[in-house]
Symmetry: C2
Subunit: 132 residues, 2 copies
């Protein structure tokens, strides 16, 4: 059994990673972290560093519990949603974990297109997590 989580260097991405790891511990599932970050406009170097530190801590916890894990760096020019869905299908994921931004009181009424694509097109369940 495997749980797939998308690597995103934001506080939502870190919350998703943390929750995915907890779910792996609960059900003795393998954790597959898919990195489809391409830099650019949304890149936040500080968040990326915090994410890497968080990832190391998560890996330590999984190592301690004897839970298998892997990080896949995909640079195939695909839409991140496609990469995540393809990996989830390949490993027969129990579910995918994604981070979602919290809506501000006057925030937009629509989910981002990546989140919508993953929710609509993944054949497995999707757990959407907010930042703490």
């Amino acid at each position: 059994m495997a749980i797939v989580v998308g690597y995103v260097a934001t506080k939502e991405g870190r919350a998703a990673l943390k929750r995915a790891a907890e779910e792996c511990v609960l059900r003795q599932a393998k954790l597959v972290v898919v990195s489809s970050h391409r830099g650019g406009r949304d890149f936040d170097a500080d968040e990326a560093m915090r994410f890497e530190a968080e990832l190391r801590r998560v890996e330590e916890v999984l190592d301690e519990r004897g839970i298998e894990h892997e990080v896949r760096q995909l640079v195939r020019g695909n839409d991140p949603a496609d990469d995540l869905i393809a990996v989830a299908a390949e490993v027969s994921a129990d579910f995918i974990v994604i981070g979602l931004r919290r809506r501000s009181p006057v925030g937009k009424l629509f989910l981002g297109s990546n989140a919508q694509r993953i929710l609509l097109d993944a054949s497995c369940p999707v757990l959407a997590v907010k930042a703490e």
Copy 2:
């Protein structure tokens, strides 16, 4: 700990209920089924009967495992999304489970407004499940 699932008499609603019950068994959590069905256009009597039968089976499994559960029938004229989010906040839900329709190859590119509202506005995580 509690898991909240929205009652919907569709095959997606049944899939969400089944998954929510499995997650309750896994983590010894209470199951709270929120019924905010209002009949009307989308009402399918056959699906409703299948859903009720499914609910009875789920309750039997939870009884056998000694897991607490309750069904809340809410007729407050609220948007179903608001009811679900309010109950989840009240019981400090670990997460909410919702059913999502599978997109057909030529299907629409947007999630329904109820699903989007729950995903955007719930403070807890949301597990979105497709029908089998």
